[in-house]
């Protein structure tokens, strides 16, 4: 059974989103997603400073098995990316909710967070 922390929000495309105290959100992919992908070998991250819209494909995660797009769950500016994934992409498998984070966004529209799923709805969507 996948680990789906209750304090995060989730997109139907399997990104998790955590609201940080400084007003940004951290984004990664869920435990369910990393299990489906298998061993991650490359991660392509967005540019810091890029303006992104919710639903844009802005990163790529490539496993031995397949390549997958990572979508911006909310609109805003990319303020930080997890450079350590370049050398250690396996962190996405080993620790998807902490060391395996992808990027941080400063949201331009706080309302968009309400469009994301809570843990319970996400769990249901994974079971379908």
């Amino acid at each position: 059974m996948s680990n789906i922390p209750g304090d995060l929000k989730y997109a139907s495309s399997h990104e998790w989103v955590r609201s940080e105290s400084e007003g940004t959100v951290t984004v990664g992919i869920s435990d369910f997603a990393q299990e489906q992908l298998g061993d991650v070998v490359f991660v392509e991250l967005p540019e810091v400073g890029a303006e992104v819209s919710a639903g844009d494909a802005i990163a790529v995660v490539e496993s031995v098995k397949a390549a997958s797009d990572i979508y911006a769950p909310v609109s805003g500016e990319i303020v930080e990316v997890n450079e350590s994934l370049t050398d250690s992409p396996e962190q996405v498998n080993d620790d998807p909710y902490e060391n395996g984070w992808f990027f941080k966004i400063k949201p331009s529209d706080g309302e968009e967070m309400n469009d994301l799923m809570d843990a319970e709805s996400y769990q249901d969507s994974c079971a379908e």
Partner: protein
Amino acid sequence: MNQRTPLYENHLQAGAKMVDFSGWDMPINYGSQVVEHEIVRTSVGMFDVSHMTVVDLSGPDSKTYLQKLLANNVDKLKTLGKALYTGMLNADGGVIDDLIVYLTENGYRLVVNCATREKDLKWMESVSNGYEVNLTERPDLAMVAVQGPEAINTIKKMYPELADQFTNLKPFNALMNNDWYFARTGYTGEDGFEIILPADEASDFWEKLLAAGVKPCGLAARDTLRLEAGMNLYGSDMDESVSPLQANMGWTVAFDPSDRDFIGREALETEKADGIKMKLAGLILEGRGVMRAGQQVIFPDSSVKGQITSGTFSPSLKVSIALARIPVDTGSFCEVEMRGKLLPARVVKLPFVRNGKPVYE
């Protein structure tokens, strides 16, 4: 419901992630395919390959029948247990399947792919018209591949009374004892055995291997291992639309003696006379990314494009490798079209890895 091998429960106990593979529930990995890959390259792993189809052949015309049916010549099989890799072609020279054939006490044993089982059996039946042969499928057998540098030693320790025979068993030969076959063959580029055994003894055997320290490995690791070893996967690297001469299988086609009229011979001879235009080659990506089947390969010195037939990330080499069908007369530099970008790659001599070490040039 999907078919299950006699090892289904063993897989679940070992924590396998099961997937559908051509109508069978098979283990894709037991956690990490990369870890399983590395185990086979450095120590010893085991694969359940019981989904593959075993067909026994007997009858007075067995040899002449196989000399018609197969592109390689079973006349090369001089001693009991000797194995031969071959294509089974259609009249146009396309590959119906690739298989291993063994010389046995009662005739021959063929091991064919699971995904092609039905069409293979149908084809083998139809070609048998006019030959006095019996084709018997053996669903009562299971098959386990034990592969890696420690494979032979591990099996020797399990069967000390057979240790000398295992040591002396040459590659592509099998030691046979009733329904147990220990064949020194594999699909990983490492030393090891493919063991055919009675289905009702498979679960005990698997548990004994586990106790001896052999790690279960899934189909995902099997695929990266065979690709590093430069071995073809039927349905990806060749199929009925592809000649063995364009699939790196030229060495498996026995044109001598010239009067052996195997199915597909005429088409291959015409192809050779006209000049073979494409070949299957190895590619190494020079940048970051992973080559995947279906991607286009572009050469600066050729108007004809190539195509990736199998691609992956190589856990041993830490770069992306692929098999690609490309024009025969190009240089080694090429570009692969990946996700809208062109990334540089290099054509290399196969295999990529053999016995744990990089060997490509």
